[in-house]
Every structure is written in structure tokens, then in C-alpha cells.
């Protein structure tokens, strides 16, 4: 018992000694942490419960209708998540090239990258989506809706992420680039083997944020008739004049998805922090 442990709480000579002050402080801290969490959870419970009761009290929620159509709306989750994952992957590609362009010393490349960021950030996403879907066919370029949606989303997010990636690349210490070029690596090789692998670790948390934002923005691709969550909710709601219920379901789905992916993101960040690879 005594070996390897503190004997502070052991009664010596039958007399109970008070725990040392450091342990008292630690115990007090732990208590207040637990109290905080309990109060937090209770507050949420009350607020969310109250909200649910309020919604139920409107008398507008028809369980029978929902039991038929809620599964249909939930069926859009796979499409929403699928479109978002595909779009974030392509957005990473756009952002990588965008960031390299923004850091290029070649004037034309810098100009193209800057124009890309400026143009995309200066126009609404919905216009970009509809431009690809509705305007391009006038010039004979008709792409399948899913391609239009993913392209427009990733092109748009790529522009925003360009600046994130640029900052990530610039965060790599100069010494890393010097060491790589002192080994004789070319600029391209230095970028690919030394700078980008480190920059990607720096921007992973930011990519997580963008992905969570994208899940919600992906609702806009419903305008190109992709049957994701929002499309199903809005069409069903309009058809039966039951938008209150269907939009509630859709909102709930997005909220749960966001919470889930935030949790995944936190786990990834913790793993990165703990990993051996310190930057």
C-alpha cells in the first residue's frame, strides 16, 4: 500500500491527519469541474426540453405524417455527407494550388490565384452553383447535377481555404526550407516533401471547421435537384403544406451532423497534439 503511493491519508498512530494542501486543492478543482458539467448538462436539458415541448404544444407536429416522411428526409443524409466529403477533398486540391499560386513569385501565376480568390469570395455561392448548372448549358456544357454541385461547392470553398493554406505554408519556419535546399532539393521538392506535409498538419483543424460549415452550405446544392436533406425536406413540405415539420426534421439532422463531426474533429486535434510529430 505504502509502496509507490502517498501515505498521506493513512492514519498514523490511529490519528486521522488532514490531506496535504496540494491534494485539497486538486480535490476542490475536481469538484468544481464536475459541478460545472452537471449544471451545463441540466441547463441544456431544460432549454432543449422546453423547446421540444413548445414545438409539440403548437399541435402542428403530426406523428403519423412524420413516421412516413421523416425517414425519406433522413435518407438524404448519405447524399449530404457524400457531397460534403467529395467537395472538401476537391476544395483541398483547389486550395493547395491556390495557396501555391498566392505564394508564387511568377507574376502571371500570382495574378491568376489572386483573381480566383477575389472573384469567388466576391460573389454569392448560390450564383456560382446556378451558373454552373443553368448558365453553362447555354454554351453547350451540360454537366450532371451532382458534378455541378460538387464542382461549385469545392471551387467556392477552395478559394476561402486558399488563404488558410497560405497561412499554413507561411507558418513553416524558414530553417526548414533552408535545410531542404541545403540538402540540394529543388524548390518543388522542398514544397512537396518538407513544407506541405508540415503545413497540412497545421491546417487540419481549420479544414475541420470548413467541413462543418460545408455540411450546412451543401443545402444550396438542392437548387440543382440533388436529393440531399434540404431538398427532400423542402419539396415534401411544399407538397403537403407541412413545411414546419419537414424543416424541423432537416434542421435537427444538420444540427446532429454538426455535433457529430465537431466531436470527430476534436478527437483528431487531440491525436495531432499528442503525436510524436511536433512542429
Amino acid at each position: 500500500m505504502a509502496i509507490g503511493g502517498t501515505a498521506a491519508h493513512q492514519p498514523i498512530g490511529g490519528v486521522e491527519r488532514p490531506a496535504p494542501i496540494v491534494e485539497q486543492i486538486a480535490a476542490a478543482r475536481a469538484r468544481s469541474r464536475i459541478r460545472f458539467r452537471v449544471v451545463f448538462a441540466l441547463t441544456w436539458l431544460v432549454l432543449v426540453g422546453g423547446l421540444a415541448l413548445g414545438i409539440a404544444a403548437t399541435g402542428r407536429v403530426d406523428p403519423e405524417f412524420l413516421s412516413v416522411w421523416a425517414p425519406y428526409i433522413v435518407g438524404g443524409v448519405a447524399v449530404t455527407v457524400g457531397v460534403s466529403i467529395a467537395s472538401i477533398i476537391f476544395a483541398i486540391v483547389f486550395a493547395t494550388f491556390g495557396a501555391l499560386g498566392r505564394l508564387s513569385t511568377a507574376a502571371p501565376i500570382y495574378a491568376i490565384a489572386t483573381l480566383y480568390v477575389s472573384l469567388v469570395r466576391g460573389t454569392p455561392l448560390i450564383i456560382q452553383i446556378l451558373f454552373v448548372y443553368l448558365a453553362l448549358p447555354q454554351f453547350g456544357l451540360s454537366l450532371p447535377p451532382i458534378v455541378c454541385g460538387i464542382f461549385a461547392l469545392s471551387f467556392n470553398y477552395g478559394a476561402y481555404m486558399t488563404e488558410i493554406f497560405r497561412a499554413g505554408i507561411q507558418a513553416i519556419p524558414r530553417g526548414q526550407i533552408e535545410a531542404a535546399s541545403a540538402l540540394g532539393m529543388t524548390q518543388a521538392m522542398t514544397m512537396r516533401r518538407v513544407v506541405l506535409p508540415q503545413a497540412i498538419r497545421i491546417v487540419i483543424p481549420a479544414i475541420g471547421n470548413e467541413f462543418i460549415a460545408m455540411i450546412k452550405d451543401s443545402a444550396l446544392v438542392s437548387y440543382v435537384t440533388i436529393e440531399e436533406v434540404f431538398f427532400r425536406a423542402s419539396t415534401t413540405g411544399t407538397r403537403f403544406f407541412r413545411s414546419f415539420e419537414t424543416l424541423l426534421v432537416a434542421a435537427l439532422i444538420y444540427w446532429i451532423l454538426t455535433i457529430m463531426f465537431s466531436f470527430v474533429q476534436e478527437r483528431i486535434e487531440t491525436r495531432l497534439r499528442r503525436s510524436d510529430v511536433r512542429l
Binding site: 519556419p173 533552408e178 535545410a179 531542404a180 540538402l183 540540394g184 529543388t186 516533401r193 510529430v277 511536433r278
Partner: protein
């Protein structure tokens, strides 16, 4: 050929005095003491001619001429801001010299600050760098690669050495710096001294003609300096050609064949350590070294 700027005394190292050029002329070595390791007639492995460097309008290097012979260890000393690191970084073009030329192992490159971005010029710089590997003050290991991957990245990607062969070479040098047991660790798990030894092994794995050290122990905890200097002294005694920018006078005294004192972007004094460190002629060298003596001996000699 090179016009010697200063020369203290003619050398005599057995077979003849000084180096003999292709056209038969005898040239005195500018700094007179290539050391016993340098056979007469040897071609210098590093040759700097009139290297100057401006940062903006700041004239940091004011014309440095230096020849380093195979198997020599050269120490560059001087106060901070004197230009010694800049000179070292000019050798492998981490800083592009403004004027002058650099030759490493027969590969010569003129300063070309106006066209430094040209593809051809960059390729020539790369050729110089393959021959002159650098060890940095801040180690600059790649944190996302294991130790062994840090070592083989250069040989595989740059020199095109087959992976198996690169690993064998890397392991040999890793053993030389005494860190075979850290082969698969990430740099973050190493102490400063271990990191610097890995950095030395990384430079050696490239099998360069000359090693450049840029204040290799300045970023280290005082207790870790010794292990790095020990590795460097071993290399010096094995005949690895090295140019070392350092504040470690004890190391310079024991390992250097020649010491150069740089003041205000120029060599103020050069010679074997017995002369340049222990018995300097130039008053500026004396003042600089006096501070080291003070720092080293104050505790013993001057009871408060």
C-alpha cells in the same frame, strides 16, 4: 591565380614550398599554414575569391578570399554581426554573394545577384550544395520524418541513391554519431545534442566534399555542448574537411588547422590556432579573445 592579400611566412611542407599550378608556377598559400594534413601541391577543395555581400546597402562582407585544403578543419571566429555566418552561408549560396566566386571540389560558380533566379543558375547552386553540406545552429531536422527518413531524404530524392543503399549509408553515419538506437524516433523525442548529432549524420549521409557548421552548439544547453563537439572533433581527426563558425575557442584550439578571425566583414587575422588564438597580432583579435579569457577564468583568477 589568386593574389595573396597577406602572407606571414612561406610554408614548407616536405616536397616543396606552396602549391604548384598547372602551368608550373609556384604559388604561396595566402595564409601560410595549410597544416601537416595538407600535402604540398594539393588542390584546395573550397576556394572563395573576393566574396562580398550587401544586405540592402549594408556592406556585410568586404572581400573574403579563402582556400581550404582537403582534410583541413577551418574555424571562423569573430563577434556576432562580424559576417562569419554570412560568409559560411555564401559558400553554399544560402546567401547569394553580391560579388566574387565560390569553388567547391572543382565546381566553380560566380556570384550572379541579378540573374539569381535563372534555372541554370539554380541548378549550379544545387551542384555546389551537394558538395558542401551544412549543419545549422537550429538543427532544422524535419519534424514529420523519423530520424532515418531525415537522413535518407537527401540521398534518395536528390542524388537518386537506391533506398537500400541510402539506408545502409545512413545507418553507418548514425552509428558514427552514436545514435543508432534513435533510428526510428521522431526528432521531437530527442534532446538538443542528439538532434544536432542527427543533423551532422544527415549532412554526412550526403557524402559531401566539405561540411559547413554554422554555430552548431550555440542553440544548445551548456550540458549538451560536449557531446556535439566530441563528434566534431572525431570528424576533424578523421580528416573530414570542415569549415566551422564557432564561439568555442577550446574546440578551435584543439581541432582547427587554421583559424580565421573576421572583423567587419574581412579577415583580420588568420593562422594556426597557436598563433591566431593564443598569440594574435591584430589588436582587434586580442580584444575579442580577451573577453573569452575573462569569461573563462574570472571565477578562478579574480576572487570577488
Amino acid at each position: 591565380m589568386t593574389a595573396p592579400t597577406t602572407s606571414s611566412s612561406a610554408v614548407s611542407t616536405g616536397r616543396g614550398s606552396g602549391a604548384v599550378t598547372d602551368d608550373g608556377r609556384t604559388v604561396r598559400d595566402p595564409y601560410a599554414a595549410p597544416g601537416a594534413l595538407t600535402p604540398a601541391g594539393a588542390q584546395p577543395i573550397v576556394r572563395l575569391l573576393g566574396v562580398e555581400k550587401y544586405f540592402g546597402t549594408n556592406h556585410v562582407l568586404r572581400g573574403c578570399t579563402l582556400e581550404v585544403y582537403p582534410r583541413e578543419t577551418i574555424c571562423l571566429i569573430g563577434r556576432s554581426g562580424s559576417g562569419k555566418s554570412t560568409l559560411l552561408r555564401c559558400i553554399n549560396f544560402l546567401e547569394e554573394p553580391t560579388v566574387g566566386s565560390v569553388e567547391v571540389d572543382g565546381f566553380r560558380l560566380e556570384a550572379d545577384p541579378l540573374h539569381g533566379r535563372d534555372r541554370r543558375h539554380r541548378e549550379q547552386i544545387r551542384q555546389i550544395r551537394l558538395r558542401a553540406q551544412m549543419v545549422f545552429q537550429e538543427f532544422n531536422l524535419f519534424p514529420h520524418m523519423r530520424v532515418i527518413d531525415n537522413l535518407i531524404a537527401g540521398p534518395i530524392r536528390v542524388k537518386g541513391v537506391p533506398r537500400r543503399e541510402a539506408i545502409a549509408t545512413a545507418e553507418r553515419y548514425l552509428a558514427k554519431v552514436g545514435l543508432m538506437d534513435k533510428r526510428d524516433e521522431y526528432p521531437s523525442r530527442l534532446s538538443g545534442g542528439q538532434k544536432q548529432r542527427v543533423a551532422i549524420a544527415r549532412a554526412l549521409t550526403m557524402e559531401p566534399s566539405v561540411l559547413l557548421f554554422d554555430e552548431p552548439t550555440s542553440a544548445l544547453d551548456p550540458t549538451l555542448v560536449g557531446e556535439v563537439l566530441a563528434v566534431m572533433e572525431d570528424l576533424a581527426h578523421e580528416g573530414v574537411t570542415m569549415i566551422v563558425v564557432t564561439h568555442e575557442m577550446q574546440f578551435a584550439r584543439e581541432a582547427a588547422d587554421r583559424v580565421y578571425f573576421i572583423e567587419d566583414g574581412q579577415f583580420a587575422e588568420a593562422g594556426p590556432p597557436e598563433q591566431c588564438i593564443d598569440n594574435p597580432n591584430d589588436p582587434r583579435t586580442r580584444r575579442f579573445l580577451a573577453r573569452f579569457r575573462d569569461a573563462q577564468f574570472r571565477d578562478v583568477t579574480e576572487p570577488a
